[in-house]
Symmetry: C2
Subunit: 224 residues, 2 copies
DNA sequence: ATTAACTTGCTTGCTGTCCAGCAAGTTGGC
DNA sequence: GCCAACTTGCTGGACAGCAAGCAAGTTAAT
């Protein structure tokens, strides 16, 4: 009937690595946007423009595909953490300036990859313990914590404080990604508006800097 | 074989209201812990100690049951918001003290009902738009925002600032509930430890108070 | 007795996985 | 260069399991 009834399979020939990457992209998107159970392998195949059975052929099972997606995601995050750390340490700035920079960097990274947040959030909620058996996951956060502490010049006794600060940074940055169209809209914030991003960064920076200064004032022994 | 092979059906006789409540409790727990798709009506029935089909009998469909669970959840939250507001306004304290109290109250409320957080977080992530058609949801957050602004004495021009503050409070409070066994463990925090709760409350209070004071200093026109 | 509160049985649709097959490519002998 | 033997990439069909919803039954309260 139609002239081009269907582009059918794409022109690209047989190429396992390429196909796997395309499947991972499709799966990442669907798992992030719809969740693990709500996504069928057939759907992944359709979005990747391969057959229904190809995802299973390459990744063995749906669970393995999911794990592969998360693994790739954490590798990206680790790379970002390392780059951010190097940049911060090379800048030689004061902790204040470094913290402000870290907030901006991290917020930008997250804004560019919202699906990472959705994937991780989903997995944290899930009772499937996929994340448990993934050494990379734990390692990434530990690395981030170490970098954070080093950049801000917090000594060994401040580990807990640094952990709370990092936790707060992550919490404050992730929340709008997940609740953009629900909570944020309800309180009159539009995460899509052009000014929102900077507004939010400034707010987060203010919060964290306040706590950092409070801590500095305390340890330098200001009289009560 | 066993003396009490099965308690079978509960002794309590027929009572629609009671049964519905039990079903709602079971569904709330399962939807929160395992998610919508991963939960079957049969499982809800089992946990509620009724037959496989009873949830469907009372709530019509799985989707309606889910909506009923969320509705009840938001009603509870609204009640908490109203009580908190009354208490805060009746206390007649300064904004600083009130904010500290609000943080503590809210953190306690959330800690007592972690499943509310999981439910809402799941629904925010979901592409099912159940929350969209729920006027109560939006109303609750708006009410919370208004209360927050009033308690802290922020005038009308500070709406955006108040929204960001409230958003931050919620983000900071919810995060440990969701990521307790993943992120928190990785950075060496144990959300189950007895001291964690107070530690976290103090940290959050510090953060928010810093921002509030900054704002006060700014508007009262301190020279640069 | 009538109605409402449940329950058991069944159907229907969907999805993950296994399997056999085929076609595109690669290798090695001549 | 050429062809045959073999490998790899990818597909469609079949099957089994499970869950939602319906329908027809069974019991308890009023």
């Amino acid at each position: 009937m139609r002239a081009t009834t269907k582009p059918r399979r794409r022109d690209r020939g047989r190429n396992a690595a390429r196909t796997q990457a395309v499947i991972l992209d499709a799966a990442e998107r669907l798992f992030a946007e719809k969740g693990f159970e709500e996504t069928s392998l057939a759907e992944v195949g359709r979005l990747a423009d391969v057959s229904r059975a190809t995802p299973g052929y390459f990744f063995g099972s749906k669970g393995s595909l999911h794990r592969a997606v998360l693994e790739r995601c954490f590798e990206d995050i680790r790379r970002a953490v390392r780059e951010g750390k190097e940049r911060a340490l090379a800048s030689g700035q004061t902790p204040d300036v470094i913290l402000a920079g870290a907030v901006a960097d991290y917020a930008d990274f997250i804004a560019a990859r919202p699906n990472f947040v959705r994937l991780i959030e989903r997995e944290a909620l899930s009772d499937r313990r996929v994340l448990d058996g993934m050494p990379l996951r734990s390692a990434v956060w530990q690395e981030a914590l170490a970098a954070f502490r080093q950049e801000l010049g917090l000594d060994i006794s401040d580990t807990t404080e640094a952990a709370h600060l990092l936790l707060s940074l992550v919490a404050l940055t992730w929340f709008p990604i997940v609740h953009g169209r629900t909570f944020l809209k309800a309180v009159g914030l539009d995460p899509g508006a052009p000014e929102f991003g900077d507004q939010r960064k400034r707010h987060i920076t203010t919060l964290l800097l306040g706590a950092l200064r409070e801590r500095a004032a305390f340890t330098s022994g200001i009289p009560s």
